[in-house]
Amino acid sequence: MLKLVLARTTAMVALLMFTPLVHAQTVSRQQAGAVENQKPAAAPRHDISGIWDPGNNGIQPLGPRAMPDDGKPEHQLPYTPLGLEALNTHKPSNGVRSVLPGETNDPVVYCDPQGIPREDLYELRTTQILQTPLNVIVLYEFGKIWRAVWTDGRDLPKDPEPRWFGYSVGKWEDDYTFVVQTSGMDERTWVDRAGRPHSAELRVEEKFHRVDHDTLELTVTIDDPKMYTKPWVALDKLHFKLQPPNFDVREMICSPTEFAEYNKIIGNPASGKGAQ
């Protein structure tokens, strides 16, 4: 009984995340088949493929959903002295440590790639996953970027040339859980929107769990002994709902020219850097 109530509640909340606050017509969201009193089909084995929508839960404006930078003591991270020093060089344009729009040094605001793990931890939107015999390809809406997770048994490279999105290998922990390990990430990226830092020693673990036919959950753990005294969970079972295979994923692309226009009209005047 409790399970049914919980399932209905989850379905209702998921439904409402797509509902505008006023009675305007929603033009974009295509609902997947499940309605509140229909039990979803069982999870297929070894299959996380599909077009997956986290609703607005993936936007994560204050930092990762399980560890936002909101000033609460339970969300204070176990920084090393180096970690705290690095954090203080990052000037985010949102959250409790926010600076004015014209003062931020958030690389993503200037259209640098998000990289891993930030692609999971900020503006995570409709995500498509494809499985090939040798790898799993993840296609992200924000930045319209993709990454490959190798499933051919290779190890992570030792001493690799850094990449924005690092190097990823993955395997099935059980029939419904795909676990990804990533290393070799470029130090220029921030972990999240709040400006949490990472070093070249960062290891990211992502667990994709196929709960049932229509539901995927993502858990992300950050492990960087140079910046944090212990690993911490950034996303804890973030819920994705399966979309129909003909779903058209929007473009969300950071355009430097659009950003320059925004700064001219809004960002600089808002920061007192001169009126229009």
């Binding site: 995340m17 959250g95 926010s98 969300m252 692309i253 950071c254």
Partner: protein, 125 residues
């Protein structure tokens, strides 16, 4: 029954929403809401934020060029907005948070269109 549940859940969602949108509120006077009846000059549907431009005459009769931002197109579409929501010349009533420094810039909270329809610009997280 479903409508009642909808109202309750919407209420809960509204309560749990952080005050500022995901592009920061440091510049804005978040306690202050200003409402103006304006004639649209331009509507930009673009990342990182959409923005609405209009001109207003001040007390001395000088034209002041205003610009109000909203969230990005992906968010706005989910709230019922589109690149067609405004045309130059549309007469609308807009409610917004002004910037603290007094420049003619702000962030839209909601708009009442010429046809009477109200659109909220507040993204629900």
């Amino acid at each position: 029954m479903r409508n009642k549940l909808t109202t309750i859940f919407l209420g809960l969602l509204l309560v749990s929403v952080p005050l500022f949108a995901h592009h920061g509120a440091a510049a804005y006077d978040t306690d202050k809401k200003t409402t103006m009846k304006v004639t649209v000059s331009e509507w930009f549907w673009a990342n990182p934020h959409c923005f609405l431009k209009f001109d207003v005459k001040d007390d001395k009769g000088n034209v002041v060029h205003w610009a109000l931002e909203s969230s990005n197109p992906a968010d706005m579409v989910n709230l019922g907005w589109s690149k067609e929501t405004f045309k130059p010349g549309d007469q609308v009533t807009v409610t917004f948070m002004p910037v603290k420094n007094g420049n003619p810039v702000g962030r839209i909270q909601n708009v009442v269109l010429a046809n009477g329809q109200t659109l909220s610009a507040r993204v629900v997280f």
